[in-house]
Amino acid sequence: MEQTAHFYLGLIPLMPLIGAVLIGLMHVTTCRGHRFPDKLYAVLACIGPVLACIMAFQVFTILKTLPVEHRILVHKVFTWFSVGELNISMGFMADPLSSLMILFVTFIGSLIHIYSIGYMADDKTYAKFFGYMNLFLGSMLILVLGDGPVVMFVGWEGVGLCSYLLISYYNEDSSNVLAGNKAFIVNRIGDLGFVLGMAFLFWAIGAQGFDYISLKANAHLLPQATAMLVCLLLFVGATGKSAQIPLYVWLPDAMAGPTPVSALIHAATMVTAGVYMVARFSFLYVTVPDAGEIVAWIGILTALVSAIYGMFQDDIKKVLAYSTVSQLGYMFAGVGVAAYSAGIFHVFTHAFFKALLFLGAGSVIYAMHHEQNIWKMGGLKKKLPVTYLTMLVGALALSGCPPFSGFFSKDEILFSAFASGHKAIWAIGVLVAGMTAYYTFRMIFVVFHGEPHSKSSYDHAHEPPPVMTVPLVLLAIGALLAGFFNLPELFGGHQMVSSWLEPSVLDHHAHAEASTEWMVMGSSVLAFVIGFSIAYVKFAKGAQLPVFTGFAKFAYNKFYIDELYDMLFVQPYKSIGAIIWKDFDPNVTDGPRKAISWLYGAIGDAFRLVQTGYVRVYAIYMVIGLSLISLLISQTLN
């Protein structure tokens, strides 16, 4: 049984990777000649994720049969590299945390692959898209299954690369490529933190083994200051990947990629890697609560800021993007207050409803011939009923309407924050919950209700094919029911997810009385109701594109943060480069060499003058030389 699981562990990431390589090779070899049929690619592309999903389920069940304290399976494939005390093996580890992650990653991944078959049908480089998608999934699985930080980093960077490739997928348009570049570069800034964190961690306790099991065992040896440093550096990595302040700027731009990409990468899986990583390193974070505090605050502030942005966006995907950032903020608030299982549970539910929302948006965009501005839609309810209904489920889940999945997971986080004494965080969280409800339903109402704003697009709009709608429905079911997996005891649930995750993460259990719990829950529901009501009042009857002024304009322009970053980092970087190249390098660094060669030439010319050509002058040189030497020799005599 365990042997099978080991076997699967190695195979799970390999499945999509093989698909990627296969598709890539087929694509490259045929790109100049006769292409293979798209259907072949579609099938090839889906085999990997689906097989991985099945195996993930197998692993999950096998793990479940094991006693709680033995729910760790490690499969070391080969020694990756080993230098001195550093010994890194290419190993995969399944424990409750990672097995849960791979489960929904592969599941949602498979669904999105299937969805993409329809969505990308007209694309010229169909195979390339699936190659990238499979590569992404493989990398994501390495990230999750990696048995140590270095292996995780492989997946970490791999997903970043795929994100780049897929964002700049429509690469003829330079703004898409720029968005891709931005994503990659910002992610790399985070990666620097990750690498440095790893390095410090290694030199502190990594010599005995640099995988999670050994690290966890030796974590107590870590000095407090180092632990703090490592936690913060790792969190820098997490802010990059999971789009938190200050590195969130790439995610909205990442919407330039095809919509299934946004669903898979920028909503369901990759962006949650940061949360996963913090949960993974919970054994470190629990030793330094201050670090967790910072994580929580960054998270909740990100949630707030991006919720504000989300309220003023007019691109359907941007709205969802900011909502993603916002939800990620919640997750970090959760893991920050040491409610790791709550955070991960939100990752889990969020994956369903956000993938659903993105795919729904994809359907809308597909139907509207790649129109993304919500103010050019409107009244699509009748044209796209399935999409409308499924998206409505997603919206309810996102905005935390009970009993949809989002309600339970979000509430869990807010409750943990409140119960652990982070009242300010909780308060902001509640506020953000209201804002979430507002912008989510603003979007739903503007897109699906009211009158069509663009008659021609409206007329051509039609429901997408079943290959796209079936995944929507499946996801909607997930979004609806996922919350019940972790039903709080208050409702007679057993917190299945939390207890499942128990061995992997070191949860800090905040206990509170039932009344407190009811109060927290009630305030969340209240926030949802308020947000929903405002949105209903303003947009349900149809609304026009508003003109933003004052704070709204400021928020619409995202507080000019992009411009600020451009001014603070990008432009200085470019101008330093230009200064170095144009002025500094030729004049200062190369200055001594230039001076020497100038001097060399000048002296050479000067010496030409000495060679006057007059023989008498030559004789004079000789006599002067002689007389100088005579003077000197005279001194030595006597």
Partner: protein, 504 residues
């Protein structure tokens, strides 16, 4: 032939090159001959590689007395340090001859001579022999850039030649000094590297000799601020010359530091390592910044290469096994990735007749294979995990952190800096809309694909399964590190001794 496998690897190409130069051969004949010779060398190299045990010492040693009165011997051998640089050259060279088809016979002859000389420099076990090969390997580059270079070729040639010769002549003075010092200390003449390690050097002259060596190698690597010859030479030089310079010759500078400076000038090395490490990391950042400002893709790659060399050099000076092994690994990784990039740049230049980034665009759409290959090399160059570039860079950063946190953090920024200019360039050259110039871009031919395939396979294999390579490097690196540690202990002990004396 197999008893003298290294000699064969050195002199087969050199003799072939000379024959090409001295006999009237057609262009294609020359290329065919060059290809055959380089493949023959490759076969010899593979034989050597498979026969290499990797216990840390010299293997395949050839030793003959040459100038007995001065103790100059014809000594050759490989260990874990030299093996991979040797192999990098050996593996990469056939590719050049497959790719560049349009040049004259002098082009191929020079390349062959360069190959042989570089193999000689890497395998030489005698300082004088090393120096001879070290200088000889510059000559083909001199002629390649001067004969086949771009518009500013003469200035570039002069700059690189004078710069590097100035450095190496100072090293020559230091070599002479070492020889004499050895004679004074032991009563016999010897220039053997192993013997040299027994020298006890101290005082100002030792520092000067150390500076002489370091200067030569710093210029070759090139270490900031001695890099100013590099952009011109790399840009103006023909693709193959740039390739040879960046992929192998610069690495020989790094190699030489490990081979000569560490064992012979251990005390000076440990004393000045921090400065060198800073120079390395500053060079990395400096050239990285300069790269972003380039409008010429070859020059950009030149700066990028210099930037990476800064990191590799840094690895040398961190004085721990991780960083050193990382450097050695990165030497090969960088040889493959940057070498490939320069070859791509050469193809691009040859087909597009331009080096301006602004003139290009949309090549990915025209030539997907070319774009993919380029992307792989580029990703390796920016150190993406799964490619060869990551392992070395990671190890170096890891080691740097241990050595000095500030340096380590600065070294880490290479993760960001490299990716900025590379992506920027990739966007403008390969993405965006094609123009009438790039519209006609022809994708790689079968021969070219064949030429690049080994390089790319190497990039991936070294990224995914580097341990077999590291296993051969590590023992030799460990010996060097032990030397350093020993030196440091001695220095500490001396300091302690002096301290106690003062107290008394």
């Amino acid at each position: 032939m197999f008893e003298h496998i290294i000699s064969s690897m050195i002199f087969l190409p050199i003799i072939a090159g000379l024959i090409l130069l001295l006999t009237p051969v057609t262009k294609n004949g020359a290329r065919a001959m060059a290809l055959v010779v380089s493949v023959a060398v490759l076969i010899l190299g593979l034989k050597l590689y498979t026969g290499f045990i990797g216990a840390g010492g010299m293997e395949f040693v050839e030793n003959y007395v040459w100038f007995p009165s001065l103790g100059i011997n014809y000594t050759l051998g490989v260990d874990g340090i030299s093996l991979f640089i040797l192999m990098a050259g050996t593996v990469l060279f056939p590719s050049i001859f497959l790719i560049f088809t349009t040049k004259s016979k002098g082009y191929y002859a020079n390349l062959l001579i360069a190959q042989g000389a570089m193999a000689g420099a890497v395998c030489a076990g005698d300082l004088m022999l090393f120096y001879i090969f070290w200088e000889v390997m510059l000559l083909p580059i001199f002629f390649m850039i001067g004969l086949f270079g771009g518009e500013g070729k003469i200035a570039a040639t002069l700059k690189i030649t004078l710069y590097t010769i100035a450095g190496s002549l100072l090293m020559l003075a230091a070599i002479f000094y070492l020889g004499v010092a050895f004679h004074n200390q032991f009563g016999i003449w010897s220039f053997n590297i192993v013997n040299m390690a027994a020298l006890k050097l101290h005082g100002t002259v030792a520092v000067l000799a150390f500076v002489g060596f370091m200067l030569a190698f710093a210029i070759k690597i090139p270490l900031f601020p001695f890099h100013t010859w590099l952009p011109d030479a790399y840009t103006e030089g023909p693709a193959a010359a740039t390739f040879v310079l960046s992929a192998i010759m610069a690495k020989i500078g790094v190699y030489a530091v490990i081979r000569f400076v560490i064992p012979i000038f251990g005390a000076e090395f440990t004393r000045y390592a921090l400065i060198m490490a800073y120079l390395g990391v500053i060079g990395m950042m400096y050239c990285g910044f300069a790269a972003i400002a380039q409008k010429d893709f070859k020059r950009m790659l030149a700066f990028s290469s210099a930037s990476h060399m800064g990191i590799i050099a840094l690895g040398l000076f961190c004085m721990n096994i991780q960083a050193l092994t990382g450097s050695l690994f990165q030497i090969v990784a960088h040889a493959t990735s940057t070498g490939a990039l320069f070859l791509f740049a050469g193809i691009l230049e040859e087909r597009m007749q331009t080096r301006k980034i602004a003139d290009l665009g949309g090549i990915a759409g025209r030539a997907p294979v070319f774009a993919m290959f380029f992307a792989i090399a580029m990703l390796a160059s920016v150190g993406l995990p799964g490619t060869s570039g990551f392992i070395g860079e990671f190890l170096i950063i890891l080691g740097a952190i241990k050595y000095n946190v500030a340096i380590g953090v600065l070294a880490g920024t290479s993760l960001i800096i490299g990716v900025c200019y590379m992506l920027w360039m990739f966007q403008r050259v390969f993405f965006e809309k094609s123009n009438e110039r790039t519209e006609k871009f022809r994708d790689l031919s079968a021969a070219e694909v064949l030429a690049f395939l080994p390089i790319l396979v190497l990039i991936i294999v070294m990224g995914i399964y580097p341990q077999p390579f590291i296993k051969k490097i590590e023992p030799a690196a460990r010996i060097q590190i032990n030397t350093i540690l020993h030196n440091m202990q001695v220095a500490d002990a001396n300091a302690l001794l002096q301290g106690t004396n003062l107290e008394k």
